[in-house]
Every structure is written in C-alpha cells, then in structure tokens.
C-alpha cells in the first residue's frame, strides 16, 4: 500500500473542462499527475458503461467535468 498512487480518470467536455485543463497547462498550474484524461465532445455522451468499464480497467476514482 505504501507505493499506492491512485489512478484518476477525468472525463472532460471539449468546451468546458478540457479547455480548463488546457489553460491549466498554458498557465503552468501544478496539479497531480495521477489524472488520465478522456476527451469527450460533450459530457452528454458519457455513458454509464464507459464509467463502469473504466473501473473495470482499474481506475480508482473518476470524475466527469463539464
């Protein structure tokens, strides 16, 4: 457990949260590197099964950002 680094999946909307993530990069804002971003054109397309499959694939936490 000592070397546990959580895997966080971020499901982001192109027009809101993804742009914010982009801006965070441009602005050199520090944030944890545990996050893996899944890009959506709109978070309306996030299906329940996407979330469940991500957990199946080993995600520790998921957030949807829109």
């Amino acid at each position: 457990m000592g070397d546990y680094e959580p895997r966080v999946v971020a499901m982001l909307c192109n027009y809101c949260a993804y742009s914010a993530a982009d801006l965070a990069g441009v602005g050199r804002i520090q944030y944890p590197t545990n996050v893996r971003i899944v890009y959506y054109l709109c978070t309306g397309k996030v299906e329940i099964v996407h979330i469940l499959k991500a957990f199946e694939a080993g995600a520790d936490a998921i957030f949807v950002g829109g």
């Binding site: 299906e47 329940i48 099964v49 469940l52 499959k53 957990f55 199946e56």
Partner: protein, 230 residues
C-alpha cells in the same frame, strides 16, 4: 409494448453467484425501448456483475449478448451465438417473461449436448405506453374482448381501478380517481372524449356484463391462424 423493470442488483447477484460463466442476454425489442433490457443495459449489467464479483475476489466471466427478439426462434438461430450459449453456465436473460421462457425453451430444444439454464434479470410489469420521458403507464390488460370502440379509445378495463363498464363510480372527483390523486378517472376521460366527438349516446346502452372468457383463465391462451399454418 411490454414494460419491464430491472430486478434489484442484489437479487440478480444472488441468483447467479454459483456460476462462473455468465451470459447476459439482452433483447432489442420492447424492453430495449423501456430501457430495461436492451444492448446498453446488457453491457451495464455485465460490467456491474464483473466488478461486484471481482470486488469479492471471485473471478467470473461475464459476457453480454443481444438478440433482436427473444420471443421468436429465427432471431436466435445464429450458429456462433448458439455456440456461446452452449459455453455459458447460465444465461441471464433480460427480456420480458415471454423472452425468458421462449429463449430457454428454444435453447433446450436446439442444443442437445447439455441442458441450458436461463434465469430472468427483469420483472415484467405490464403492457403500456411511454406517456412521457421516463414514464410508462399501463394501457391494455389483454382481456381478449376489446371495448375501445364504445369508450372513445380509452380503456376502462385497464385504466379504471374497478374496471367499470357503465360510467364512473362515486369516488371520481375533479377528474381523478379515488385510489390515487395522480391517476385520472378513466370514465371522466371517456365522457369528455365522447362529448367532444358528439357521440355521448355510445355509452347509453347498459353493458350488462363483459365476456371474460377470452381473458386469462384456464391456462395459456392460444391463437391459431389456419391460413398461416404449414
């Protein structure tokens, strides 16, 4: 169409816990439209079961499959599909009660190597219509002797709590039923509709009794079309 509701996850999990290879079998007809047993729901249930058993340290193989209609032989006759059915320990059918029984019957008729276990994942609730987004209501009881031509297209058998045939009871108030204030009084609707049509006299003749013989009693009902039989 036929409306069904998914069984509680705990119940489903309990019913398949003894098997290692589970096939979740969805049906693309009625239950897909009421979002209980279609392709998406089959995927979700398969994924849920995998996660839930995996959480407890139990490794199970869960596949999801979909057929257009589980109440018809020809949609399930694909050889590759039947091969998969044969490999599974249990088929968890998320079709209506008809689909569960028919697929079970069909698999056991076609596959002779071993008996096939089919169990239900849904509770079949009623025959109804999608009256609003995410809302379904019962519309037909299948009584076998339709009265809609006399009642302006509104079924008093299904929609009246007492299945009355000759106008509303004393419990009808402000167009609502006494059993539930959210339920419209079917007879209120019928009278309004017939009035608008100018055909109120249609309900004047007293309906003495309804012929319940074609309704459900005395075993399964059967329909034979001689012209279609081989």
């Amino acid at each position: 169409m036929i409306i069904a509701d998914r069984k509680p996850f705990e119940e489903i999990k309990e019913s398949v816990k003894d098997y290692n290879k589970i096939m979740v079998l969805g049906c693309e007809t009625c239950v897909a439209i009421c979002q209980a047993g279609g392709e998406k729901e089959a995927e979700i249930l398969a994924s849920e079961l995998k996660l839930a058993f995996g959480n407890e340290g139990k490794k199970v193989e869960v596949n999801d499959e979909i057929v257009i209609r589980q109440c018809d032989d020809e949609f399930m006759s694909d050889t590759a599909f039947l091969e998969k059915v044969k490999e599974a320990d249990v088929v968890l059918s998320i079709a209506c009660g008809v689909g569960v029984q028919h697929s079970c019957n069909y698999f056991n008729r076609i596959i002779t190597e071993k008996p096939i276990r089919v169990i239900p994942g849904l509770n079949t609730t009623f025959m109804g219509a999608n009256i609003d987004v995410g809302l379904w209501e019962e519309r037909c009881l299948g009584c076998g002797d339709c009265v809609l031509e006399r009642t302006g297209g509104i079924c008093p058998i299904t929609r009246c709590a007492k299945s009355l045939l000759n106008g509303p009871c004393g419990g009808s108030s402000n167009g609502k039923c006494e059993i539930n204030k959210d339920t419209d009084c079917a007879w209120h609707l019928i009278i309004e509709r017939l009035e608008a049509l100018g055909e109120l006299e249609r309900i004047k003749p007293v309906e003495k009794y309804k012929d319940w013989r074609p309704s459900h009693s005395g075993g399964p009902r059967r329909m034979v079309r001689e012209d279609l039989r081989l």
